[in-house]
Assembly symmetry: C2
Homo-oligomer: 255 residues x 2
DNA sequence: CGGTGCTTTGACATCGCTCAACGACGGTGG
DNA sequence: CCACCGTCGTTGAGCGATGTCAAAGCACCG
């Protein structure tokens, strides 16, 4: 998707089409959606807790994080988003933000008005279903994060998120062999995994010493997928990337 | 909602209507949905990981839990559902279950076929929006659980889930003064909160000794809402119960 | 009256946090 | 070109929150 897409809305069509098979008219409706493209600097809030957004954004480039701010400066990152994702689709039907959305890196985003989007979903139930499905996959990611935070130890949590982020990026052509971009810095990964950056750092050292993963310069390299996935008890079902596969599904492997 | 509802579909209408304002034709469409009512014993799976359900269920009575099973008998309960909830609406667009749904207590459920439900959402975009919104609120609950598991200590986590479950039940008329039903036993609460049942028990004792909460016989009583909510850093925004309120919102209090 | 399952408590182990310091790196200005 | 500074990553030592293991209490029910 990042390779040679031409326009923002073509990117969106490709994304929705990949799982829901749009009809020609639906594709055209998306392509005709009015939108504006904007760049945001890293650390900048896109929307904040309490806001009542009037538009949704589509990530064209860069990384976005969803987070909750707690007292005493604490925060919990609830999810990461990359090119092709629409992180605040939920605001279409949930009017008041219960969290923040922020640019993790410098980002380019396309903004689409709620009114136009609602109009299009009213007219094309297939589009509504595709967008709805997108938010449901988002929720599936949340559920898996809950499982990680609740029942996996630090090592497994880190291993798990690496598997997830690698496969998600592989699916949209952002992976390169056994490597993929990984923009969040250690403190941000820690905030996503319910750990301290200090402890996350120690876990990373362990993973490196065991020859499972190397992380540096914004690039994640998975040295041993099988062991990593085993450590994480990783099952890709929750990604819903090939939802209609035969019941006896096999874990996806890089390389 | 539990008080004197007559039919399952009237219950669903009331639930959807409470947040999305249905039109008359939409209400009628729901009321005409074919469905079957079934009772399930406690601990029984409603749908399991890997299943491809062909219908959705509506909880009429009892408690339902969504959980992920891990190796070695571990499990993470991802959410609880009570009367009026549709816990597997997501299966309408996510074809393969990535988790389990189980009766926590003896339950009565209404089952509605996917085909009929999809038909109705295609015909009435307002209904699609209402159901979509319902799944988005579910996702908002997940996000808050992530925040709890990642960044709150045991005491705050327990306090937080009590606030949540009390308010959710109050909203549908299941609370009684400062008390409400609480079907999950300690080991189930522990599985939901990423704790051991042993440690959860100690936390409960602390809450009891501090005069914040008493729990017993399937009933939760909140003795001191303000302190409990403060301990939990509880903000009801994520419940989206009165989504269109003025920006300066106040915490809801019992009694 | 003797299960059986849930709750409660104690003693001890461990994982992850806190505090503190240092190192690596890149940008910036003199 | 180099000194300075801020940010991020790395490491150590000690502590605290939570898990583990084990046993006893208690209620419900046949």
């Amino acid at each position: 998707m990042p390779h040679g897409y031409s326009t923002p809305m073509e990117m969106l069509v490709r994304k929705l089409d990949s799982c829901a098979q749009l009809e020609q008219a639906e594709r055209a409706a998306i392509l005709n959606l009015p939108h504006t493209v904007r760049s945001l600097p890293a650390r900048h809030d896109i929307v904040s807790f309490g806001d009542r957004p009037t538009q949704c954004c589509l990530v064209l480039q860069g990384w976005v994080s969803r987070y909750a701010a707690l007292s005493e400066g604490g925060r919990q990152i609830q999810s990461f988003y990359v090119a092709g994702d629409m992180p605040d689709l939920q605001s279409l039907h949930l009017h008041r933000m219960d969290h923040h959305l922020a640019a993790l890196t410098t980002c380019t985003l396309a903004f689409i008005g709620h009114d136009e989007l609602r109009q299009v979903t009213r007219q094309y139930p297939g589009l509504a279903a595709a967008l709805w499905r997108d938010t449901l996959i988002d929720a599936a990611h949340y559920r898996e994060r809950i499982t990680s935070l609740g029942r996996r130890q630090a090592l497994g949590r880190v291993a798990h998120i690496f598997c997830e982020l690698y496969l998600r990026q592989k699916a949209i052509g952002l992976a390169n062999g056994t490597s993929c971009p990984l923009a969040p810095k250690q403190s941000e990964l820690a905030d996503a995994l319910g750990l301290t950056s200090v402890h996350l750092n120690r876990v990373l050292r362990t993973l490196r010493l065991r020859g499972l993963v190397t992380l540096g310069g914004g690039v994640l390299t998975i040295e041993n997928w099988n062991e990593l996935a085993a450590l994480a008890e990783f099952d890709p079902t929750f990604l819903h990337q090939a939802d209609d596969e035969a019941p006896a599904e096999k874990a996806t492997e890089p390389a």
